[in-house]
């Protein structure tokens, strides 16, 4: 196991920030860490990176205990803290050099090669001669990632790596995370659901410090998607009552006279029935589209019930 967490808890005074959570992350897995603000995502990450000690429970990274062997653990981890703190008056290369030397002192030749490779990897080429303070938010985020990657760690812990980025930058960073996930174990937190669907192998949802779900994104979706929605559009006007005749349909949302959303069960049969219905009524179908319940709905459902 790359990362394994057992009954980890953190209390601030009498408030439970993290309440005995347990999970394992296999090598090469990308784990999405989901939860509303204040759920305990960052606190868990801070404990894994040995910034804060847990109140109770244990965790290990690459079979090294976070309490007994913090220095070895930190050597294995690349960490991008929340809000990406950087030294704004340092140059990009100077900063990466510092981040590398602080991990493992290396000769000038080795380190400049490693810095160049990392700059290429995160796509910082254009901006590499600037001061960090002069960079745009997207590039600062890349510097943060570069800093986390510089010593080629086995485990990457990224705390909201995509917050505040524009859509293009989002796609870039997600692709980069996906690319990195081929070799490394990655834990990253976010509250953007599409990101989880796009990037993660597995999702953990926590709420008020407690683990509420731990599964593959697809499975989570199936869990709550026994009911399906089908969007249909006909060429000619049709009455809701007529649509009721279709088997398996139990609810109809009317958008316009020709455009409806049908709620039903059993996806394949339902669509066939709708098609047969259209042929029967001699009313050509313009749209027939099945919609799954999104992860967002699942997230809301899981985090609101408690």
């Amino acid at each position: 196991m790359s990362v394994s967490v057992h009954n980890l808890s953190k209390f601030y005074a009498d408030q439970k920030a993290v309440d005995s959570i347990s999970f394992d992350v296999k090598k090469g897995e990308i784990l999405g860490f989901l939860g509303p603000n204040g759920a305990g995502k960052s606190t868990t990450m801070k404990m894994l990176t040995c910034y804060l000690p847990p109140s109770t429970g244990t965790a290990s990274v690459c079979n090294l205990d976070i309490i007994k062997q913090p220095l070895e653990v930190k050597q294995k981890i690349g960490y991008l803290p929340e809000n990406n703190p950087l030294y704004h008056d340092m140059y990009v290369k100077e900063f990466l050099e510092f981040a590398l030397q602080v991990h493992s002192p290396q000769s000038a030749v080795q380190s400049s090669k490693r810095i160049k490779d990392t700059i290429d990897l995160v796509g910082l080429n254009v901006e590499q001669h600037k001061k960090i303070g002069q960079l745009s938010k997207g590039y600062k985020q890349r510097v943060g990632l570069a800093q986390a990657l510089i010593h080629n760690p086995e485990v990457l812990i990224l705390d909201e790596p995509t917050s505040g980025l524009d859509p293009n930058q989002l796609v870039d960073i997600r692709n980069l995370i996906k690319e990195l996930g081929k070799e490394k174990t990655i834990i990253f937190s976010t509250h953007i659901m599409q990101e989880v669907q796009a990037v993660c192998d597995r999702v953990i949802i926590i709420n008020k410090g407690k683990l509420v779900a731990d599964d593959k994104p697809d499975n989570l979706q199936n869990l709550l998607s026994r009911e399906i929605l089908v969007e249909v559009e006909f060429e000619n006007k049709i009455l809701s009552d007529e649509l009721q005749q279709i088997q398996h349909v139990h609810l109809i949302d009317k958008i316009s006279d020709t455009h409806f959303i049908l709620h039903g069960k059993d996806s394949s049969q339902l669509r066939k029935d709708i098609f047969a219905f259209a042929v029967n009524k001699n009313n050509p179908l313009l749209t027939l589209k099945q919609e799954n319940k999104s992860l967002e709905d699942i997230f809301l459902q899981l985090t609101n019930k408690s």
């Binding site: 910034y51 804060l52 930190k74 809000n83 703190p85 510092f98 602080v102």
Partner: protein, 242 residues
Amino acid sequence: MTAILKKEINLFFSSLIAYISMTVFFIVLALNLFIFQGNILESNYATLDTFFTLAPWILLFLIPAITMRTFADEKQSGTIEFLTTKPITDFEIVIGKYLATIILWTFTFLPTLTYFICVKKLSLTDAPIDSGATIGSYIGLYFLGAVFVAIGIFSSAITKNQIIAFLTGVFLCYLMYDAFYRVSSLTIFQGQLDYFIQSIGLNAHYDSISRGVVDTRDIIYFLSVISLFLIGTRTALESRKW
């Protein structure tokens, strides 16, 4: 630790901090020694007493100003989380930063040795400068600066706010340098306790070295105070874990 040391030195010397601190220290003291009223050319004594009396008071403000950002800034900007999640101990961070500031202090201190050379050249052969006492005073001043740096770094580690760090630094430096001496001369302590209270303060030991006798007790005192504040700094850093 060397990485931290290098980073801090770069920060001092790539910004104006280092040059301003060196210039301020050198010029203010040179003006008082050679030009302003009461200078040694008027008084006709080949001695650097004016310099050694004034220098601690300048340092009292100068050093907390240099050290105020050391940890306060890292805490404010969150980079402390970057540093403390690297594979180095908290104590290495403290030592790295302390040594970097000591190097800056050394560069600020060294130019003032020219005063000694000047006065030595100016003095008459039958009334030369007391070299032993002067060298002793220089050693005392250097240690005094080193203690102030430790106090300044400690003050910076206990807050996020640089101004609070500066004011705390000035206050603690004053307390250590002068306040114990003043308290000891209150009438209620006369007799038994005054010597003891005096010897807690920096002033007594600075004066003692200034006489030209480098006593190991004084050196041990200075080193102990430095260690005490550096351990305090580490404790302040670790307080995040409580």
